[in-house]
Each structure stands twice: as structure tokens, then as C-alpha cells.
């Protein structure tokens, strides 16, 4: 991992102060608000709301995700609360539906309001990817650590792409470190139990995390997955499907349950919200 610059003993006191600010290991207290902060065995997630420069964000990302024992993590920063409400997880935990998604999605008017502004640092295994989109719809990505994007992998000859991830934990202080993650994965293969099982096994091997599950689709229509954003900021939705088109699709869900069990199911989105 490429660490931020550190002050060295021979430089002057004035320069040391400057370098300490640039190293920005943590974001300034007056800056973005931390909305969610989860840390479990191998898993870390932090969500921020408020303007952050790329330099500050990268410094925070290295500190937050850089540790070797962190194998699945996400640091995300939304420039504003409006950005988070649209590009972050949905407003409810359950009973998400095409109708609810559409009611949020249709209120988003990028031509009037500009693009959503989001920065993410994503870590899977040892690789860290930075990606961003700004209010002018400029998208960028940059590999911070590792040899290849941690979001892409191949299973049984099929491309897998982690579009987004959502972290959660059970209620109660006794569960503070029992963090789990749900990954939303798009494949160029079929969204089947067998492919989902293989992808989950691969991710379990890469992350060594205990509670990881995936939602596998052959498209990006994760509309009834409450942890997936109503407006996915890193890719334009090529087509807004009708409800009938959406209900005609299928997805697979797989969860890893230690010590060695992966449970999967395959289904169509429900008609009942």
C-alpha cells in the first residue's frame, strides 16, 4: 500500500505542520458528518455526508481501509444529504419494491439538479479502488492498492462485477462488532443459484469474512434490494424498465453461514410490495 507522506526528522517545524495537514489521516471535525460507522472482524464501513476534497478523502481512505486485516470495506462520502438520500441505501430496511424505487427515482432530475456527488473507496481482499462522480457528472476511478479492480472477478467463466455493497449489524451493544455485508453483483452469466454459490464461495475465500451475502443479477435492476441506491451514481441507467419487465426478471441470493454452509435461493421479484 502506498502510505501518505510522513514527516521526516530533518525537515523544519514549519514544514512538518504542513505535511501533517496534508497527511490528513482523519477528516477535520468540522467537516463531514459521520452517518454510519461500523467495524467488525475484517469488515469496515463508514458513511459521511458533507463536502470533502479528494485529497482529504484519500487520506482518510488509506487510514480507514489500509490495515491488512480489513478485507471488505467501504468508505463513502456524499457531498450533501440529498446525494445520500438518492445514492445511498433506501429509506427502509424491508418491503422494498419497484413502486417505492420508482417513487424515489422519478423525483431525481439530473437535468435540473445536477448529478449526484459521491466518492467511494472500496476494499475487497487487499485491493482498494477509489471511484467518484461529481455534480457535473464527471466519473473517475483509480486503483489505490492492488493489481486489479477489487470490484471485478471471474467465476466459472462469467464476469462478476460488484456494483455496490451494504453493511449491517444486529441490534444491541453486544453485536457492535458483528458486522455483515450484502454485495450487489452483476454478472454476464445467468443469475442462478449455482453461479451465486460459486461467487459467494470466491468472496468468502478472498475476504475471510463471516457474514457476507450477495444478490446476483444479470442486470443492474436491484430495485427491490433495500440496501441498493435508488439512483446508482456510478453508471447511468440505460433503460428505465416497466414494472412488468422488472417482475419478469430473476435474481439469486446467497449467504455464507460459517463454518462451511452457503445457502442460496433463486426467485423473481415479488408482486406484493
Amino acid at each position: 500500500m502506498q502510505e501518505p507522506l510522513r514527516p521526516v526528522g530533518s525537515v523544519t517545524g514549519r514544514i512538518i505542520i504542513v505535511v501533517l495537514v496534508l497527511s490528513g489521516a482523519s477528516l477535520r471535525a468540522a467537516d463531514p458528518k459521520t452517518v454510519v460507522d461500523l467495524a467488525g472482524d475484517h469488515l469496515r464501513f463508514r458513511s459521511l455526508v458533507g463536502p470533502v476534497s479528494k485529497r482529504e478523502f484519500l487520506a482518510a481512505a488509506y487510514k480507514f481501509l489500509g490495515a491488512r486485516d480489513v478485507t471488505l470495506g467501504l468508505l463513502v462520502s456524499y457531498a450533501s444529504q440529498r446525494d445520500r438520500d438518492l445514492a445511498g441505501p433506501g429509506p427502509v430496511m424491508d418491503h422494498c419494491s419497484y413502486g417505492l424505487w420508482r417513487s424515489i427515482f422519478d423525483r431525481y432530475r439530473p437535468d435540473q439538479l445536477g448529478c449526484l456527488s459521491v466518492q467511494e473507496a472500496v476494499k475487497v481482499g487487499s485491493a482498494i479502488l477509489y471511484r467518484s462522480v461529481d455534480g457535473h457528472c464527471r466519473r473517475s476511478s483509480e486503483l489505490l492498492q492492488g493489481r486489479a479492480s477489487p470490484l471485478d472477478f471471474v467465476v466459472d467463466g462469467h464476469r462478476m462485477e460488484i456494483l455496490e455493497m451494504h453493511f449491517h449489524r444486529p441490534w444491541g451493544k453486544e453485536n457492535l462488532r458483528r458486522v455483515g455485508a450484502e454485495l450487489f453483483v452483476r454478472t454476464d452469466g445467468p443469475a442462478t443459484v449455482s453461479l451465486g454459490r460459486a461467487a459467494t464461495a470466491r468472496l468468502e475465500t478472498i475476504t475471510d469474512a463471516e457474514d457476507v451475502s450477495i444478490v446476483l443479477r444479470s442486470d443492474s435492476w436491484f430495485f427491490d434490494a433495500c440496501g441498493f441506491p435508488a439512483v446508482y451514481p456510478f453508471e447511468r441507467l440505460a433503460k428505465v424498465p416497466t414494472q412488468e419487465e422488472f417482475l419478469g426478471t430473476r435474481y439469486a441470493f446467497c449467504g455464507f453461514y460459517p463454518p462451511s454452509s452457503i445457502r442460496c435461493f433463486e426467485m423473481s421479484p415479488g408482486r406484493k410490495p
Binding site: V36, V92, S97, L100, W171, E174, S213, V215, F253, F265
Partner: protein, 226 residues
């Protein structure tokens, strides 16, 4: 009558047929009848409306009843839940039986205009959307859990489309979302280890908790596919 909703709907038995025989506690053979029900309000039949649980169900009382069921007729459920990593029975009891100040769920009744018109973000969760709570029920959901909170919003369908037994099971269903931090897919998967068969909608979790095909009887033991 809905014991929890004195002003709600009365159930009237329309017809009964012999269904089975079993032994009672003293070893006597008793007959089991299956009866069809109709629902009446203010002396006026509602026709073939099924699954009416009561228009004025007290949500907190339904949740307390849910905890009683988990310790009696639906003991199967609690036995299963206690095997789930991260599930804590005391926390779960608190969610269902305590006041919000003491770790209990806040039940937000969307049929109350002051709740329906309040913003989602006003309840302190991780989403600060200014959209009203009522917007969550435009597509007919019975209940939803607000992420990062112990707040559960209840929609109109809960009162009009579900039996009182289902209403009690919905309290358990939503408390599971809060307690385990899992969405519907997560619950499907977690509960499948106890025999839950995935269907096409999250209402099937509620029906699995009830465990009987009429969605009303509590004789099935709970937490089994109806």
C-alpha cells in the same frame, strides 16, 4: 372479536365442517372443525372480505401479545430464533414489550395523519429524506422498518388486509428486521435453516410465523410452512 380492538371488526362464523380428531389434555377424543368466517362491522356484513384483523389494533399491545405467543403457542419460533447468530432473546423481548425509552420498538401508525405527513428523516434514522412516511405505503406494504432505528411504520394495509394473528406475526417479522439488521433477502436466507421456504414476497415470512393455512389459527405451533 378482535380482543385488541374493541371497536374493530367482529368475526361471524358462517359454516363449519368436521376436519379432524385429536386428544385433549385429559385424553378425550375431541373433534376439530374448520369454520369459514365473515367479518362484520356495525351490524353490517362486509361480504367476502377475509383477513380483517381490526381497524384500530393497538400496535404496542399486539407486540406484547407477540412476545407472549413466542413463549407459548409459537415457542417453536423462539427456539429457532435463539439459534441465529446475533439474536438475543432479552433484546428481542425488550423490542416487543418495552416502551421506546426502554429499548422497545416505536410503532408509527401511518393512519394517523400527523405520522403520515411527517418526514421519514424526522425519526432520526440514517435516511433524512423529507418525503412523508405515507410515501412508503403507496404500493401497499403492511409495515416497514426504518434503518438505523427501532422505528417501525405501519401502513393502512396492516389494518385492512391482515388477520389479527397476522398482525401479531408482523410485529415479530419487523422485530426480526430490527434485531438482526437484515433485509427481506437476509431473513429469507436466515430462516430457511429452520424450514422457511422462500416465496415471492416478504409477507410469506409473516405467514410462516403464523404457520397455518387460514392465517388465523395459532394451533400450528408457529414457524412452519402453512
Amino acid at each position: 372479536m378482535n380482543f385488541n380492538d374493541a371497536s374493530g371488526l367482529d368475526q361471524s362464523f358462517v359454516s363449519c365442517s368436521w376436519d379432524a380428531a385429536e386428544l385433549d389434555d385429559e385424553g378425550n377424543v375431541v373433534s376439530i372443525y374448520t369454520c369459514s368466517l365473515a367479518f362484520w362491522q356495525s351490524g353490517r356484513p362486509l361480504g367476502p372480505v377475509q383477513n380483517k384483523g381490526g381497524l384500530h389494533t393497538n400496535l404496542a399491545k399486539a407486540a406484547k401479545t407477540a412476545w407472549q405467543y413466542l413463549n407459548s403457542v409459537w415457542q417453536n419460533c423462539l427456539n429457532a430464533f435463539e439459534q441465529i447468530k446475533g439474536f438475543n432473546a432479552t433484546t428481542f423481548q425488550n423490542l416487543l414489550t418495552n416502551t421506546p425509552a426502554n429499548g422497545g420498538i416505536t410503532w408509527l401508525d401511518d393512519t394517523d395523519p400527523s405520522v403520515a405527513n411527517s418526514s421519514i428523516g424526522s425519526y432520526g434514522g440514517t435516511n433524512t429524506s423529507t418525503n412523508p412516511i405515507s410515501s412508503l405505503f403507496q404500493t401497499g406494504a403492511d409495515a416497514v422498518t426504518l434503518p438505523g432505528t427501532t422505528d417501525v411504520a405501519i401502513g393502512p394495509s396492516y389494518f385492512t388486509n391482515e388477520t389479527q394473528t397476522q398482525q401479531i406475526a408482523i410485529a415479530i417479522h419487523e422485530a426480526l428486521h430490527v434485531a438482526l439488521g437484515q433485509d427481506d433477502n437476509g431473513l429469507y436466507s436466515t430462516l430457511s435453516q429452520f424450514g422457511f421456504t422462500q416465496g415471492s414476497n416478504s409477507g410469506q415470512i409473516t405467514d410462516w410465523i403464523v404457520g397455518t393455512s387460514d392465517h388465523m389459527s395459532t394451533r400450528g405451533g408457529g414457524c412452519k410452512n402453512p
